[in-house]
Amino acid sequence: MSRSPSLPAALRAPQAARAGGLVLLAVAAWLLPYQLNVYWISVADIAILFALLAVGMGLVMGVAGQVNLAQIAFFGVGAYTTAILTTRDGYGFWTAAVLAMIATALAGVVVGTPALRVQSHYLGIVTLGLAVAFIDWITNAPVTNGDSGISGIPAPPLLGINLSSQYLYYYLELIVLAGGLAFGLFIVHTPLGRRMRAMRDDPLAASAAATEIRPLRMIAFVLASVYGGAAGVLYAGMIGYIAPETFSIADMFLLLAMVIIGGRRSLAGCVIGAVVLTVVQQQLINLAAYAQLGYGLVVVAVVVFAPAGLVGIPGRFRSLYRRWRGSTGTSAVLEPFRPLPVAPAAAAGVTPGEPLLEVSHLVRRFRGVTALDDISLTVRAGEILGIVGPNGSGKTTLFNVISGFYRPHGGAITLNGRPVSGMRPSQVSRLGVARTFQHLRLFGNLTVADNMLVSLDRTRTWWSWRYLCWPFGIWRYDRALKRRAAELLADFGLAQFAGMLPGTLPYGIQRRLELARAIAGAPRLLLLDEPAAGLNGEERAQLAMIVRSIRDSGVTVVLIEHNMGLVMSLCERIVVLDSGLVIAEGLPAQVSSDPAVLEAYLGKSAVPSPRASEAPQASEASQ
């Protein structure tokens, strides 16, 4: 039986219509200078530079979710390095340009380093502070001529073309922008960009899907800096004169406004925002304060009412229209689950019945509360193990320590004999551990197919060097991922939803997607945290069937559940936790009649029984 269905629409390459539209756009852009007078061509030249800066911002802020208020400094590093090397040291323009790009990339590493430690507003103030530091330097350093600036920067020589003409320079800039935009889009729609978007949407779930967060953040900043530096090099060559006033904090905020108003998550939006605001700013150059007032108000309005920016507006009209028509959105249907190919656990490199995961004397505390109080248990390869216990007994904490989100304060965890406690979540994930979450953690701004693709991608981040040297390899790998994703989506009955966003789907389907995504990582051990929560009876029955099929395909399953009917029928062995301790373990029938278990769940009877008065009040210590 063929297991390679045709790729769903969402996974196929862009249609002919889109390609046609792009050609038209390219032709229009090429012919534009013929329509423009001297004033407008200079506006166009500036607009393209801002567009280049904006694309860099879009990559780091919109795609990777990192706050970056230092973009103007990258612009400055590129411009000043070019200027200094050409005017003071006599380098040729292109040599200086290459060196300037290297300098900017280094600046990107410097600015990106704090991002490894801090995020959000801290990162905002640090990047802003570094930008201020840079501005301070260029205003005062002798080598930059301070406020007077540097003049006499030569125009780039190019095959005899006179690039000191703004009309011809336009074409140089256009080519760089087109290349930069294409590269940016290539990144966004291939594994690296997908991982960045996953990291932006949910860093926790991303790291549980083998995404290395820190290297990604650094790459994002270096990308932003390279785009900024390129814009700086072009700017220096175009105007021939640079001064600190071009690289002000006010311009940084203008750039931020461009990206927000255009739509930071879409690179096309960033370009549109840059072009629109440049035109507005240039037109209102004599009313600069009014312009500033205007774009400040628009930023606030966009942030409160239309966070996706200008490019998001058509989408909002579309969903408003759909709601007005009363349709519930989709006619796509959940197809039946196709049992996965059977394979004994031996195929995954483990011997059935032998211990796969061993937890010994695990301790984890939070602010005085001991969530895990010396827990020891063994998971045997090929089994379905259930973990149950009252609210607050430590079940999810146990999963979180095993996955690597928390370091244990005591004890050890070994996976197939290999110690894993204290490892980062992405490392644990790469060793073959996958999980789902109690409160559903899907990547909300990625399509169903993209959610799968992120998890399927098991390469290390440094593998991304191919983007620079061998993009064809990336493209081929991406196609292989997409074929595999299509198979898995079909197995789980999700093929019709491939192009949709998870938030629009019914809850049961989202749950199934999270399960499919976890399996996509080809794990040896699957941790399911309350997979039946919120499911109705029929969905629960299907879940049981899916879990059994997963086990039969060679994956060991551990699940936390409260629905005791499901646990009893599905699990071969059960471990019962209460207040951070294991109070019972064994076969379902044994455990369900264990008095300690009954007491943990139902509570102690008020009438003191002889047994109760003998039992030591050991749990006093947990107060």
């Binding site: 602010r367 005085g368 509360v369 009252p390 609210n391 607050g392 789907l505 019914p506 809850y507 049961g508 989202q510 309350e530 929560a533 919120g534 109705n536 409260h562 629905n563 005791m564 009917g565 646990v567 009893m568 207040s579 029938a589 369900s592 009649s593 278990v597 009954l598 769940y601 139902l602 509570g603 102690k604 009877s605 008020a606 009040q617 749990s619 006093e620 947990s622 107060q623």
Partner: protein, 256 residues
């Protein structure tokens, strides 16, 4: 040990419940989160001076019911009446002014403030005057350990102490009806007994209780009538004494 002064003499309409005499009337309440139905349809009443229990396994919809009553999550359907007042129009922050006290799941004390400040904030809706000071000393008599720790930061207290603080904070407003969400969670059996004793005493003083719990036994000992929730609906209901002997309760929890 005095506990008088912790409950009001008058209910929301000047007497113990107006309307049909019930203090709280819940009718076909439904709660949805996104696409999930956490509560499908729940109906019950609490009479003045009555203690009602709401039990069930985790995920059955108990906490969602309580949060919907308090207005902390929107109600997808159904109506809630407090005396003769329709709670649909009352924002969550005004519940306490009507006489409804709330002890959230997981305690939710204000960790960076002292025990005493936490308790005083419980009386936020009242003036901080002599009467409030009297209520404060009554709470300290009810929970002597809080009096000992009155200057400590609430975040430094143990789980059991925080639970007492959360209950004390709710009592500071002198409520007519007290809603409690899993007060026994994470506590040792001895502390659970203490909580149970305290609740029984409050009940005997005339405070109406709606107790949501996973711990069925505690509920049976503290309340007079119970409802057992399963998958967002009421599976069983009746007097606590009867339900404590009902083997179906066990099967709902344990699955056999």
């Amino acid at each position: 040990m005095r506990t008088r002064g912790l409950t009001r003499d008058t209910g929301p309409t000047g007497n113990h419940g107006g309307g049909d005499g019930q203090l709280l009337s819940v009718s076909e309440l439904a709660v949805r989160y996104g696409g999930v139905s956490a509560v499908r349809s729940v109906s019950f009443t609490v009479a003045p001076g009555q203690a009602v229990g709401l039990i069930g396994a985790n995920g059955a919809g108990k906490t969602s019911t309580l949060r919907a009553l308090m207005g902390l999550v929107p109600r997808a359907a159904g109506s809630v009446w407090f005396g003769d007042r329709d709670l649909a129009k009352v924002p969550a922050r005004d519940m306490v002014r009507l006489g409804i006290g709330y002890v959230p799941e997981g305690r939710h004390v204000f960790p960076g403030l002292t025990v005493e400040k936490n308790l005083l904030l419980g009386a936020y809706a009242r003036r901080w005057d002599g009467a409030t000071r009297d209520t404060l000393s009554t709470v300290y008599e009810l929970f002597p350990v809080l009096a000992e720790m009155r200057g400590r930061l609430a975040g430094a207290l143990s789980g059991g102490q925080q639970q007492m603080l959360a209950i004390g904070r709710a009592l500071m407003a002198r409520p007519v009806l007290l809603l409690l969400d899993e007060p026994s969670m994470g506590l040792s059996p001895r502390l659970v007994e203490i909580i149970g004793e305290t609740l029984r005493r409050l009940r005997d003083e005339g405070l109406s209780l709606l107790l949501v719990e996973q711990n069925a036994m505690l509920t049976f000992e503290t309340t007079t009538d119970c409802l057992v929730l399963e998958n967002g609906e009421i599976a069983l209901s009746g007097p606590a004494a009867e339900l404590s002997r009902n083997s179906r309760v066990r099967s709902i929890y344990i699955g056999v």
